[in-house]
Symmetry: C2
Subunit: 378 residues, 2 copies
């Protein structure tokens, strides 16, 4: 392949990661070509992207599908399997990432994976299919990208992962104070600019729990070898401790374009002046503290669901999707997100070796269940 | 080679790094065998080491060479070239490391290099001989070991090195206050336990300048791509910035046994419970600041000598050896170490492409010169 142009399918192109993926493509025009774009609900932006990048294939899950003459409308599973697609960027939100991710690994593609839920829900199935079809899943999450980078040239045997977490906007709050926080406050993340769902998940620390599960599957790492450390500046994106006690960390400003570009150009590293460099004259200190699992029970719930395995993480994700929506629409309090997830998990009957159908049906069940239980949690 | 026992020659076995090398060997008895020991001036300790490790070859630069029956006395250059030596640990101090290091690379050995002065004085010659004879030089210095580790699996092209420095015991001092500091104060390093010479060099920051020159040779790195950052906790041992802006760091407690073991077992990493693990519950913060080149001119002098090249670093090292000795024996003040080095460098006539003979003769000249100029500097 060498320096030849890589052809990309970007799923979720109008979301935060999708837009930043196109930023990277725009700044490295000799390296990438957009073959397919898929979006969910922002037709105006998608139209602009189509005009600029002229993809041959489009997927849009809204209504108006007849406007374009130069593009073919196909579904995401078809798009990621096309022979003229080299890299699939999966940046669709929530449960919608699972099916196209699976299709992409079955087609043996290089998958730049931003969607957490697919690995959290179906990590075993996806990783097995990836191995079977020689697909490579490169994480786009800053934490997992950091871990991936630190493992380059090293063995994973007996290593330990130290996932860093900013702690979110409510780090240091008492639980009682968290009952009063609004969606607007929760959406103000101190270091990362992200989509709404993941920003709320960062405020509850549920997001960090999902990342623990994702790390478990991506790196084949036992849960007891993964720990979470709060690091408010979000400069160290994660670390690995090797069996000899040596630790490697990956650092940089919180800017998703770096892990996105790394996933797209891997194993090469390309100079891109659009991405800001760490200013050593401005770097004064890096802080660390332990996560507060009593105040932020979502982290504990997620890790427990991960350890339980089977469909427990599916129920967790689905319940969280509903809970976050309810919180954002002011229908439940911040602390009730965890309460609602816990209630759903208590009623969940785990399927230990789930099929894809089991995963979808547990997801549906948990969403309905969460909605039903929501009235009782506040 | 696999899991077979590696045979070691340890030069400088009674010094700080030599003793810690033997600690590592002691804790991993299935991996290493001591074939040769060389020491300079501590016959009591050398005798104990001979009793414990039963090497076949001995070098001692003091008088009494006839005591042992089971060991052969040979010089260091012969010892490092023996066919039954796999790894040579060069932990001799100052200028005495050059000749055996050169002999070891000429013999195509794996060289665990702790002695800074050999690369600083004769980096070009040593690296060329290493390439010619397929020798591998693995750094034992914590900073260069960190850089080596961070480069694993990565390209050196367009990378930048960020060398961390503790700042020594006098970090934050005003220059006037430095005129009053005693050798006893200078020997109390805040984070590292090291030999006397390197501890004083750490207090003046000359040591960090030598490390810049060493990094230049070891990693083929242009001087403009190497910078020094003060990091008082000595937890981050150094960093690399890659062309995409991503930074990798290597972390651990300041304990030389880790880089020593890494150099001996490379590319493997071995669990060794004797080496303390970073306690994530205790890690609260990491601080960074810029080096103060006005108060600590030795750092500037060393980097300038490195950039000048030729025999300038030779004169620097030799003048510093004398200056440190004079300071330790209370004959010059702390600030006069830099003054003396600067005076010697001003009188030095650079040989741009020195032979080994040039290097030795400039070294001798600079030592004599430093002694002569010493009376005038206080």
């Amino acid at each position: 392949m060498g320096d030849s142009i890589k052809r990309l399918a970007v799923l979720g192109s109008t979301g935060s990661i999708g837009k930043q993926t196109l930023d990277v493509v725009r700044s490295l025009p000799d390296r990438f070509k957009i073959t397919g774009l898929a979006a969910g609900n922002n037709i105006q932006l998608l139209n602009k992207q189509i005009e600029e990048f002229k993809p041959e294939y489009i997927y849009y899950c809204g209504a108006d599908k007849t406007k374009y003459k130069n593009q073919r409308f196909i579904n995401m599973e078809e798009m990621v399997s096309l022979s003229d697609v080299d890299i699939v960027v999966v940046a669709t939100p929530g449960g919608s990432g699972l099916s196209p991710t699976l299709a992409a690994v079955k087609a043996g593609k290089k998958v730049a994976l931003s969607n957490k839920e697919s690995l959290v829900s179906a990590g075993k199935i996806i990783m097995e299919e990836a191995a079977l079809n020689n697909a490579t899943i490169i994480p786009v999450d800053s934490e997992h990208s950091a871990i991936w980078q630190c493992f380059e040239g090293e063995s994973k045997k007996c290593a330990r992962i130290i996932l860093t977490a900013s702690g979110g906007p409510f780090r240091g709050y008492l639980k009682s104070r968290l009952d009063e926080v609004t969606p607007e406050q929760a959406l103000k993340h101190p270091s990362w600019k992200m989509g709404r769902k993941v920003t709320i998940d960062s405020a509850t620390l549920l997001n960090k729990g999902l990342e623990v599960i994702e790390a478990h599957w991506l790196f084949g790492m036992p849960y007891e070898n993964i720990r979470v450390i709060i690091h408010p500046q979000s400069i160290i994106h994660s670390m690995i401790e090797f069996p000899d006690g040596s630790i490697k960390a990956q650092l940089g400003y919180p800017d998703m374009r770096l892990p996105i570009q790394y996933a797209l150009t891997y194993p090469e590293r390309i100079d891109n002046q659009e991405i800001p460099r760490l200013d050593w004259n401005a770097l004064v200190k890096l802080d660390f503290e332990q996560p507060d699992l009593d105040t932020f029970p979502c982290l504990r719930l997620a890790i427990e669901a991960g350890k339980e395995g089977g469909t427990a993480p599916v129920a967790l994700c689905a319940a969280d999707e509903v809970a976050v929506e309810l919180f954002l629409s002011h229908r439940i309090k911040f602390n009730s997100i965890a309460k609602l997830i816990e209630k759903v998990l208590k009623q969940h009957r785990n399927i230990k070796q789930p099929t894809l159908e089991d995963i979808y049906s547990v997801g549906s069940w948990a969403r309905v269940q969460a909605l039903e239980l929501a009235t009782g949690v506040n």
